[in-house]
């Protein structure tokens, strides 16, 4: 054990005082907020179904399932509370808190105590879920507000971060920005903290980190190393992705369009078009025709820096000019033109 017993006793004493000062008379409160949340989801789901928005409807159904489960859990907890013989909930004593810290030290190998910052931390072993290596996590509890009234009193830090490619803040399917989405564990975790059952709290959070719920993760493990095409939202493997050379957004091979001149990939927005052949061409490769200012790709811009249209037009004009300019050599018929009948004759009276 790295920490001297004295430090554990001091920490236990401080945690106990925090718990006691936070203790308030047992209050029963019906879970109206969760009830209304479910009610809103039901109405939204019905609306989505009526409009034929099947994807949105199935997403809302998933949320509703989770919401109803939470509602049932809250009612069950209240029922248990009412059925319990004791009117006051059990709160760990200093001796029990000390025993909790000792047990934690044994379970996790080491407990990090920071009495100044009022935190207790333990680390999990490296975690791998469904073949995806996520690394070790540090669970850090700030024991000042164990009632969880304002915000979560604990954070989960990835010690060897391997976040989802699509979202750097998601270091675990159920952890975003160091906050755990507890799902079905919410009530039980909250209760363990309220009662100062530190050992239960840390082992349950660690257990949650070792479990994958495929129904509602922040990022699915099957997509952990995948990215989303910014244009079509299709999920693609990281090695099959390409990026727009100009704006650098992620694209799938279907959405990436190559410049006909430099062959670099571009997104729909960044790829321009040749005014002559209408082929895709990037703005760096396009050049203006000196005559009509049309944007042209290299193939459509001729050596005289004119587009093929302007070049053809110029040729036509030259030909017309040549036709309109007469010359003796070119029109020999004019010299020997046959004159019409009676030309130059006059009538003489008899």
């Amino acid at each position: 054990m790295k920490h001297p017993q004295k430090q554990f006793w001091r920490a236990a004493s401080r945690i106990y005082h925090c718990l006691v000062s936070e203790e308030s008379p047992t209050q029963l409160k019906l879970p109206f907020e969760d009830w209304w949340h479910c009610d809103r989801l039901i109405r939204k789901r019905q609306q989505a179904q009526r409009r034929g928005w099947n994807l949105a409807a199935s997403k809302l159904e998933r949320e509703l399932k989770s919401g109803v489960a939470q509602l049932i859990q809250q009612l069950e907890t209240m029922h248990q509370k009412l059925m319990s013989d004791s009117s006051q909930q059990h709160i760990s004593s200093v001796r029990e808190l000390y025993a909790e810290l000792l047990a934690l030290d044994e379970e996790f190998g080491e407990v990090q105590l920071d009495l100044r910052a009022q935190t207790i931390s333990v680390s999990t072993e490296p975690i791998e879920l469904e073949g995806v290596y996520l690394g070790s996590f540090e669970i850090c509890l700030k024991y000042v507000n164990l009632k969880m009234e304002d915000a979560s009193p604990y954070r989960v830090f990835a010690r060897d971060p391997n976040p989802a490619i699509t979202n750097d803040s998601v270091t675990h399917p159920h952890v975003q920005s160091e906050v755990v989405c507890e799902g079905e564990g919410q009530m039980v975790i909250r209760r363990s903290l309220e009662q100062g059952r530190l050992f239960d709290f840390f082992t349950m959070v660690a257990s949650l980190l070792r479990t994958y719920n495929p129904d509602s993760p922040y990022v699915e493990l099957s997509n952990w190393h995948s990215v989303e095409c910014t244009e079509c939202a299709d999920v693609i493997t990281a090695n099959a992705q390409t990026r727009c050379k100009k704006c650098e957004i992620t694209l799938c091979t279907e959405c990436a369009r190559d410049c006909s001149d430099c062959d670099s990939p571009f997104c729909h927005e960044c790829l321009s078009h040749c005014d002559t052949c209408h082929g895709g061409c990037c703005t760096s490769c396009l050049k203006q025709c000196v005559q009509c200012n049309a944007d042209c790709c290299q193939r459509c811009l001729l050596k005289n820096e004119r587009c093929s249209d302007c070049d053809a037009e110029e040729l036509e004009e030259t030909e017309e000019e040549l036709q309109e300019t007469p010359s003796s050599d070119s029109n020999p018929v004019a010299a020997t033109a046959v004159q019409s009948d009676s030309l130059g004759e006059t009538v003489i009276p008899a």
């Binding site: 319990s84 909930q89 564990g185 909250r190 059952r197 257990s207």
Partner: protein, 72 residues
């Protein structure tokens, strides 16, 4: 005899209960958890893992925690 039972399944609840002397961990589990499978839970007595046939003592603290807790 009186023991502290901590049931971390569902809402999570801790309470002192009366059990008859000689009750084993497996018997208490069956009484309190019904048809639930013991292998899906981590059962500890006084914060230590225990065998199913361990007899409970007065003042023991027994916790029943699901091995899998699903986040969202």
């Amino acid at each position: 005899m009186k023991i502290l039972l901590i049931n971390n399944d569902g809402g999570g609840f801790a309470d002192y209960i009366e059990v008859s002397a000689g009750t084993t961990v497996a018997q208490l589990f069956e009484q309190k958890m019904g048809d639930a499978e013991a292998r899906d839970y981590l059962i500890r007595v006084n914060r230590q893992p225990c065998p199913p046939n361990q007899r409970l003592q007065d003042g023991d603290r027994i916790s029943i925690t699901p091995t899998k807790i699903e986040g969202a």
